[in-house]
């Protein structure tokens, strides 16, 4: 038997199981395949199937209880008018009302605006940073420093930035004021700047993730393609745009997918920073949902909103997975 102690536990292609098709690996084929190294798609397990279903059962049961059951419960809830006291059946009334709810529609618009701006900034800065950090002499140190913000609880990050932004004693407020960018009112207190403030926090905390993802991608840009292009006559800048970047697209797509979904998922820091305010300036949909469901305890109405949010997340996930699986869009 081969020496298993040296077997890599997570070869590059682990990641691709996220997108089911192992054959559409993020990795570019480094060497022409002379033999089949991948496991065939249908395989004989070392034991009867039944045995594996037993092993799977507890996890599936737990998941069913905390995921599937709540999902149906959510649908059930959304068809009722539920208050603290109890519920009464209202059919699709909750959904109908959503269409005339300006805060609901506004929530969606703000959520999209928030996510798109966050992503645009994070991608640009993150990739630039990755390129600079890649193969730097201080790469290890830099990466370690970059990890720091991600280890912080988003709620704590929110509080920390609340302190930094504070209109009377916040250092960042002082810097912004001294630079003449801001007046005496805190960045969080003004409807036109509050969105920028929360985006800045998201950028601070999560740009490093894009950087790390891009960095992993950069390590896998096939060296010989870069070199072939150099011999073909490309300058370093040209080489970056015609070889490095196209090779990064698949991982960047993963990054976009993950960050987009995270922006839907987490509202911890935003909740702490502005709570959706001032007014409704930062009331992105999940925050609005939080308010409806857990401030006013309109669980039925909240369930309807939650379902729309869930639906869009699932569609988004499916679409992006589909795009990724399409050989034309990425690597073969």
């Amino acid at each position: 038997m081969t020496d298993t102690s040296h077997m890599p536990l997570v070869p590059h292609d682990v990641g691709t199981q996220l997108f089911r098709a192992r054959s559409h690996s993020v990795e570019v084929e480094a060497k022409p395949r002379t033999e089949v190294t991948e496991r065939p798609r249908s395989f004989n397990p070392p034991a009867p199937k039944r045995y594996y279903f037993y092993l799977m059962a507890p996890a599936i049961a737990i998941l069913a209880f905390i995921s599937l059951y709540p999902f149906f419960w959510l649908i059930f809830l959304s068809l009722q008018d539920v208050d603290i006291g109890g519920g009464k059946w209202v059919g699709i009334d909750n959904y109908v009302k959503l269409f005339s709810d300006s805060r609901f529609i506004n929530g969606w618009i703000l959520l999209l605006k928030y996510s798109v701006i966050c992503l645009a900034v994070q991608l640009t800065v993150g990739v630039m940073l990755a390129v600079v950090v890649n193969n730097s002499r201080y790469e290890r140190f830099l990466v370690t420093a970059l990890l720091m913000p991600m280890m912080m609880a988003p709620a704590v990050a929110g509080l920390l930035w609340l302190f930094l932004y504070n209109g009377t004693f916040g250092w960042y407020h002082w810097i912004l004021q001294s630079l003449g960018i801001l007046g005496s009112a805190s960045i969080l207190a003004r409807a036109d700047t509050a969105m920028i403030a929360v985006i800045v926090v998201d950028v601070w905390q999560w740009t490093p993730l894009i950087t790390l993802i891009a960095l992993a991608g950069l390590k896998r840009v096939p060296r010989d393609q870069l070199e072939a292009n150099m011999v073909d006559g490309a300058s370093p800048l040209r080489n970056f745009f015609s070889i490095t970047l196209p090779n990064l697209y698949p991982v960047l797509l993963i990054a976009v997918l993950l960050r987009f979904m995270d922006n839907f998922r987490f509202i911890d820091s935003l909740l702490v920073l502005t709570g959706g305010g001032p007014g409704s300036a930062t009331k992105i949909l999940p925050v609005y949902l939080f308010e409806v469901a857990f401030k006013f305890f309109k669980l039925g109405r909240g369930a309807a909103i939650a379902l729309t949010l869930l639906l869009v997340t699932i569609i988004l996930g499916k679409i992006l997975v589909r795009v990724f699986e399409n050989p034309k869009s990425g690597r073969s």
Binding site: V14, P45, L55, L68, A153, I213, D268, I314
Partner: protein, 292 residues
């Protein structure tokens, strides 16, 4: 054999690019680390000192940031005036409990899913992954309603179960990738040698053990840093660190010193853990989509 880097030749462009990138990295480092510095320093400052700022535009006055007499009173207040010891315990139990449950059941399921093929497997996967990706608030609406009827709201078991909603799918997902990379041949050889199926399963555990260990830590990290579940499902009896920290913000009296101290207490252990499992961090944070 080849040099580590792709070759580069000195041109005016590369020279400018090099200086520009140094400036960029330094600026970014400052931007990324400065908030930590402020948090750390402020947690040792008396409030009056923490609130001291130079006059607007007086850049030379930045020095007063460093002028203070260190005090531990905020840390003391966390544990004396507040019961942060309990909150730490709550955080530990909730995060640890859900991590252990998730990884035990998750690894069994992941192993099976990696070893067997059946119709609908891909759909099962998509369900698992969407459970993990679902917006927390959306998951919480029905969960809250269900847990309330089961009297699980405000209890640690409730919180553990709530954290399991994202940790279990995460564990299954990631660990399946690990098991996929263990060749069947190892178990087959074991079974030919006379091992039972379960012994065969146990025989490959050492191969995935480092990964499993790392993902226990990652599950703890996700749960520890959670705020929403803890605020709603854990409210009352199972207050965790982020929630307790947030509660130091009161309309009349925001205890900034204590908040900064609580921030340090909440963040430091996770940073330490993050460094320990650094190798697996990117894999974990990207749902296994990217391996560093």
């Amino acid at each position: 054999m080849a040099s580590r880097d792709v070759v580069s030749y000195e041109t005016p462009f590369t020279r400018i690019a090099r200086y520009a990138s140094i400036v960029f990295v330094v600026l970014y480092l400052v931007w990324t680390l400065l908030p930590f510095l402020v948090m750390f320093m402020s947690s040792f400052k008396d409030l009056l000192e923490a609130f001291k700022l130079p006059a607007v535009g007086d850049w030379s006055g930045i020095g007063i940031f460093f002028e203070f007499t260190p005090t531990l009173k905020h840390y003391r207040s966390l544990f004396v005036d507040n019961s942060f010891a309990t909150y730490i315990a709550n955080s530990l139990i909730a995060a640890g409990g859900s991590a252990v449950i998730s990884v035990i059941f998750g690894s069994l399921a992941a192993y099976s899913l990696s070893r067997v093929d059946f119709r609908g497997k891909q759909d099962l996967f998509f369900w698992i992954i969407s459970t993990r990706m679902a917006p927390v608030v959306a998951v919480m609406v029905p969960l809250y309603s269900i847990f309330r009827s089961l009297d699980l709201v405000g209890t640690l078991p409730g919180l553990i179960l709530a954290y399991t909603t994202f940790n279990l799918p995460f564990a299954i997902w990631i660990l399946k990738g690990f098991f996929d990379n263990v060749p069947f041949a190892i178990e087959e050889a074991q079974m030919v040698d006379g091992a039972t199926r379960f012994q065969a399963f146990r025989s490959i555990l050492p191969l995935v053990a480092p990964g499993i260990g790392a993902f226990v830590v990652l599950c703890i990290l996700f749960a520890w840093n959670d705020f929403l579940f803890a605020a709603i499902i854990g409210s009352g009896g199972a207050k965790t660190l982020p929630v307790a920290t947030r509660e130091l913000v009161q309309p009349q009296n925001i205890q900034w010193g204590a908040i900064m101290a609580a921030g340090v207490v909440t963040t430091l252990p996770m940073m330490a853990l993050g460094l320990v499992i650094r190798k697996y961090l990117v894999t974990g944070l990207t749902m296994g989509a990217v391996k560093e």
